[in-house]
């Protein structure tokens, strides 16, 4: 099956490419880009993409797929469908499944289910410690052999500094990315909202910025000591961005990401006690939000993630502090990024790099690119398509989004995974 997508604006940061041209696909792989077809290429099918954008399939470093276990809503089948509806074709799923992904068996199960669904590429992240308890090391080598691309503690960081020190030393010889989320549980102390004017007014138990920065400072020192390549997940504070910048300047081999909702929302959104705004780490101050966006613009923050957490309705139908934190975010990652391009002066190529080239390089995988011979994972975007997010039209099994009612400009029309169409928008399907 040979496919040519003609006259689209091809935007691929991995090749510093942004031009109107043709894209050729042979047997699920990119055959070439340019006005002339590669030698010997004859198209079986043509797609006219005049006026449209062609993006590499997005790479999401953190999205929960609902399997295994009943902790989260959905399944690999439903959530990979949601991913491709949002232009995402490669997904890292964190180990906070049930049972925890700390074994080859769970890793293999995830991959098998993903192959069956055949909608997107699923990259399991293994647990750094057994059961994510932060005590005993997982069989990290075996996890890597089984196909884990990274190891992490998901949302339950190791609290004991000696355990972390040993974990990093052991992992440093396993050639796997270690992903760290920084949160000091003692300082967090059961808090549910950023400690600021809003939590003071509402009397919500507070999480001060130091819950993140104290843990980050400790982790940076231990990472430097072990010499390991580490990735810091879901920063939420202005001070954290400064600390990462400083550490990078010192030459540490580190990268970091931010969840897309942190670039749009702030503590002010918590004022109505709406549990849809309950996330972890919490929505912080406007100043933090601005610093995080500045970090994305300057490149100090390498990647942007959805932190997709699909939840059943009941998990949010509780008073704020008792509700489960998290946002169903696969379908809004790209739209919210484009909004920052439209409204907040974020450069388009930088925005796309944060969800393609950058996360792929962090993992060391050939994804998020349209380079010849890479997997033909891509999406066609109508840059003028205007749409509104609503629970009825969400594909994910989790409808827990605080962005319902938001109007977006730029709509995913079609997504291809390994050269096969895996998503068509409702408008596109009608044609």
């Amino acid at each position: 099956m040979r496919l040519v997508i003609k006259n689209g604006r091809v935007i691929d940061p991995s090749q510093s490419l942004d031009e109107v041209t043709n894209l050729y696909i042979t047997r699920g792989r990119i055959a070439g880009i340019g006005s002339d077809a590669p030698e010997g290429f004859t198209a079986d099918q043509e797609v006219d993409a005049t006026g449209k954008w062609i993006l590499p399939g997005l790479v999401d470093l953190q999205a929960r797929l609902g399997e295994p276990g009943s902790h989260y809503a959905g399944s690999i089948a439903s959530e990979t469908k949601a991913a491709v509806a949002g232009g995402i074709t490669s997904i890292c799923c964190p180990p906070d499944t049930s049972p925890v992904n700390d074994s080859q068996a769970v890793t293999e199960l995830l991959q098998r289910r993903a192959r069956q669904a055949a909608t997107a590429f699923v990259m399991p992240i293994g647990a750094l410690t057994q059961g994510l308890k932060g005590e005993r090391l997982s069989n990290i080598h075996s996890l890597k052999q089984a196909g884990c691309v990274a190891v992490s503690q998901a949302n339950t960081p190791i609290q004991n500094p000696l355990t972390l020190k040993n974990t990093l030393a052991y992992s440093s010889t396993q050639d796997l990315v270690v992903m760290l989320r920084c949160e000091d549980q003692a300082i967090k102390n059961g808090g549910v909202a950023h400690s600021g004017p809003v939590s003071s007014r509402l009397g919500l138990p507070e999480i001060s910025a130091s819950a993140e920065t104290v843990a980050l400072a400790r982790d940076l020192i231990l990472v430097e000591e072990s010499g390991i390549k580490a990735h810091f997940s879901q920063l939420s504070c202005a001070r954290s961005v400064e600390m990462i910048a400083e550490a990078k300047k010192r030459g540490l081999n580190i990268t970091c990401d931010v969840a897309i909702h942190q670039l749009h929302l702030s503590e002010m959104d918590v004022l109505g006690f709406n549990s849809l705004f309950h996330v972890s780490p919490p929505l912080r101050s406007m100043q933090d939000k601005h610093a995080l966006l500045a970090g994305v613009k300057s490149g100090i923050i390498d990647a942007v993630v959805s932190d997709h957490t699909p939840l059943a309705k009941d998990d949010k139908l509780l008073p704020f502090g008792e509700s489960m934190p998290g946002i169903s975010g696969l379908e809004t990652l790209l739209p919210l990024l484009l909004k920052l391009v439209q409204d907040n002066g974020l450069d388009l190529l930088t925005a796309i790099r944060c969800v393609t080239q950058a996360p792929a390089e962090i993992l060391g995988v050939q994804k998020g690119t349209l380079k010849p011979n890479s997997s033909a994972d891509l999406s066609i975007i109508n840059p003028e398509g205007v749409w509104t997010l609503s629970p009825e039209t969400m594909v994910s099994a989790g409808q827990n989004s605080p962005f319902h009612g938001w109007e977006f400009v730029g709509q995913v029309e079609q997504t291809f995974f390994q050269g096969r169409p895996v998503f068509r928008s409702a408008q596109e399907a009608k044609r």
């Binding site: 600021g196 003071s200 009397g203 507070e206 998990d315 139908l317 509780l318 502090g321 008792e322 509700s323």
Partner: protein, 354 residues
């Protein structure tokens, strides 16, 4: 699900109280109405609170997800003095309980023809949460939610102040103790600022103050002598035992040394200053017995006034509901008569009519 008009979800479309969840967003006239109504329930000569038939035939359910003796008791007494049918439930709840069962509980009790829920819950925002899920004709009264609000307690404090000072306007008030964890203090601050107190001070160690007290519109003092100097009202807040175990303060003894209200310290306030405490008091921790039992203490009066103030809130909410349905009926009648005058809008006569 009840959807209420206006930015403040506790007000109905006429701008009157439908629920009573927090004092935030209420106007001076809302608070004055509560205080004046409470006054009307107290016999000026005997100080006795009479039983009145205001809520006869109405069912009030007291839902306590968190234990309480005094608040629950005064609510029950207030409800009975209003001649309502009263049912009280203590619901032990685990923090991880599923929403289903929490709301199912509410809806089941609602189906028993409950007109009003009085709810206490350990989570901030819980009263608002419940108010968003009850039927439109059912009212929710917040009897304390987490560290967020305890509006009836704040109103009885305002009532007590008014009784002694004539008005809250222009007074200097100091609130001493654990401001951070106190829902009572948050509501007191809102009440005092709505009623235009001249200055609201909070006094206590930094560990018991929220990180952004300015957001509450108060002046912070860490020195007790400075904090209560020349004030008209001193409100002492109860110190919980768990504050010691979480390293917020070293000991009751040291707390008393720094912030305990003694006769010597009380002398720094205005000579006619009153001393209040939402109770139960820790003698020798927040307050010296000589002060608690002294002539300037109004602590026990607060308890009595609590009954009248809670009666006032409940009767106002129920009479607002009656007023609203009358308003709607009149509006419908007016619309119907308009429809009759306009021949185009007149529905064709049905067979039954001809």
């Amino acid at each position: 699900m009840s959807k209420l008009a206006g930015p403040n979800i506790q007000l109905n479309e006429l701008g009157k109280l439908h629920h009573f969840l927090t004092l935030e967003g209420l106007k001076h006239h809302h608070l004055t109405e509560i205080l004046d109504t409470a006054e009307s329930f107290i016999n000026p000569n005997t100080k006795e609170i009479k039983k009145v038939p205001v809520l006869r035939g109405k069912t009030i359910m007291n839902l306590f997800f968190e234990p309480s003796t005094r608040t629950r008791t005064t609510f029950e007494i207030a409800e009975k003095r209003l001649s309502a049918d009263v049912e009280s439930l203590d619901i032990q709840t685990s923090a991880t309980k599923k929403g289903e069962s929490l709301l199912d509980t509410l809806w089941n009790l609602q189906a028993m023809q409950t007109d009003m829920f009085v709810i206490r819950h350990a989570q901030s925002g819980a009263a608002q949460f419940f108010s968003q899920h009850v039927a439109p004709h059912v009212h929710v009264l917040n009897a304390g939610d987490g560290q967020h609000a305890h509006p009836t307690q704040a109103m009885l404090d305002m009532f007590t102040i008014r009784k002694h000072k004539g008005d809250v306007f222009d007074l200097k008030v100091a609130i001493v103790g654990d401001v951070l964890h106190s829902r009572v203090v948050r509501s007191q601050i809102q009440a005092l600022s709505i009623l235009e107190a001249r200055e609201i001070r909070v006094v206590g160690p930094k560990t018991l103050m929220p990180e952004n007290p300015e957001a509450l519109g108060v002046h912070v003092y860490h020195d007790m002598e400075e904090g209560i100097k020349d004030v008209d009202v001193i409100i002492m807040v109860r110190l919980q035992n768990e504050r010691m175990t979480s390293a917020l303060i070293p000991s009751e003894k040291e707390f008393f040394k720094l912030y305990g209200l003694t006769e010597a310290r009380l002398a720094l306030a205005k000579p006619d200053a009153i001393v209040m405490h939402p109770g139960p008091i820790n003698r020798g921790v927040e307050i010296e017995s000589a002060v608690a039992d002294g002539p300037q203490s109004v602590i026990l009066e607060q308890v009595t006034y609590g009954i009248a103030v809670r009666m006032a809130v409940m009767s106002i909410i129920m009479s607002n509901a009656a007023q609203l349905s009358q308003h709607r009926a009149e509006k419908e009648a007016a619309q119907a008569s308009l429809d009759l005058e306009d021949p185009q809008n007149t529905a064709p006569p049905t067979e039954a009519n001809t």
